[in-house]
Symmetry: C2
Subunit: 287 residues, 2 copies
């Protein structure tokens, strides 16, 4: 069975064709433009392959309430031409195959679960810390979706008493994304994260916020593993800092067998998105 996959990101689209085992046969990528232009590129790629189904991990917020009239449609987004755009309907109409849609982060979590840093556990979260912060969750091979798409990057946490930055989230100010995304780091210090690599205070504070979010995720979802990726996590020094702060904050309340294997880096080297989109097809066929 030939399967198509789309990693639909806010800045670029990755399209691929592969098989049920997750091996990629062909792949391309192009910048995200207006919807019509973007899907012209999508159609050009898939025209050459007889895919039987397509999985798409989509930037959001996207309506994932199966009972909704607008299931598979992009909701409010700063990319105004995409607001209310029916991604699912467009793909089904153009490509005439079943299409399975989920969030970009759920797709990434699924790929890490099946092929990457979560392949030996029953449940894992994939958290991306970059331009925004988002997280996906997989348990027993299924991605988690509630009444609507979770938006875990916007959870509230405690601001550090020495951090006067008001937070950069246009909706919530100092939510997690407002305090700890890449743009938040840049706004707070006037420099990009990689230019601040040697400043330990920057990463102590960043770890303080991410550890709190992980504590909240852990108390609510109790995943077996947390996988932290995205541009900000290229700062490898964050991993041990986050582990230490997470353990300090939990303060022995629940047993964490081994923080080194609980909080880890991704293994799929920026291929999570498209491989996860491909993996959505067998998961959703099964359900």
């Amino acid at each position: 069975m030939l399967i198509g996959a789309i990693e639909a990101g806010g800045t670029k689209f990755v399209c691929a064709v592969g098989d049920e085992s997750g091996d990629i046969i062909a792949k391309t990528s192009f910048p995200t433009k207006d919807p019509e232009e973007t899907f012209k590129d999508v159609n050009n790629f898939f025209r050459e392959y007889k895919v039987e189904a397509i999985g798409i991990g989509c930037f959001g917020p996207v309506d994932l309430d199966k009972k909704s009239d607008t299931y598979g449609t992009i909701l409010n987004t700063p990319k105004t031409k995409w607001i209310q755009y029916d991604v699912l309907g467009k793909l089904k109409k153009d490509l005439k195959v079943p299409v399975y849609i989920d969030t970009d982060v759920n797709a990434a979590a699924l790929a890490e679960y099946k092929y990457g840093a979560g392949r030996d556990v029953n449940s894992c979260m994939y958290i991306t810390v970059g331009t925004g912060i988002g997280a996906g969750y997989v348990q027993d091979g299924n991605t988690y979706v509630g009444k609507s798409h979770p938006e875990m990057g916007h959870v509230l946490i405690q601001q550090h008493e020495n951090d006067a930055f008001p937070g950069g989230c246009p909706y919530h100010g100092n939510c997690l994304e407002g305090l700890a995304s890449g743009p938040a780091i840049e706004k707070r210090y006037g420099k990009k994260g990689h230019q601040l690599a040697a400043d330990s205070h920057v990463w102590e504070l960043e770890a303080y916020y991410l550890a709190q979010a992980i504590m909240n995720y852990f108390l609510i979802l109790a995943p077996e593993r947390i996988i932290l990726g995205g541009g900000v996590m290229k700062q490898q020094q964050l991993y041990p800092l986050i582990r230490r702060k997470f353990l300090e904050m939990m303060n022995g309340y629940l047993t964490i067998e081994n923080a080194d294997t609980f909080i880890v880096a991704p293994e799929l080297n920026d291929e999570q998105g498209v491989r996860g989109a491909m993996a959505l097809v067998p998961v959703m066929l099964r359900n």
Copy 2:
């Protein structure tokens, strides 16, 4: 099929016998004592009925990792005689029927989902705000358990700038339970909640904390309904305050169709626990 149910609380046990439709035929309750004495009372009650299975919603923390050697055992608790007590094993040995165990709050959530304030939705949370704060979650008829039991009452939230109370949680200080449980209210003001009923500042602050927690739960789990119960929620004035603050904090980020039907009171009048324990049996037989 005659089903047994146990609501195993930290202060009292409720035992009942009923049928698959959830109707209760007989019920008793007694104070929680040492494990051996308590289970003597349990056995005395069930001796008179030929139950074919038992569901138990248990105070915690209780090990709910099915792969664990100590599945069904109480973990760390201030009730020292219960630490490492194998509740599941004891019941199976004494009563010689299948026993299905979950958290007390998951059982309560399941009862409200099947028979109460969540019976018209596909997913709901039940949050109890009392001596402690805990929450259970049901989606599509199944209670949610991760690698271990969630402990949602201990999530971190933002402390109000005018609240100097250090928080009463022995593990985390100013986590949600540390700031908003019944004992936290009493420690902060030197009076019990019901003695402060007329003081609007008390409930504004309480609603500020609970609304933040609900925001975090909503961003992570996206339940269709939130049911708030427990002793503190007897202060009915909290419901509209919590709804208003939740909408203010979300600030239009995600669509909340109707806060009045999203955040609601329980409907089962303190029978959630035992009816939910009974409802665990058909759920777990199905899975």
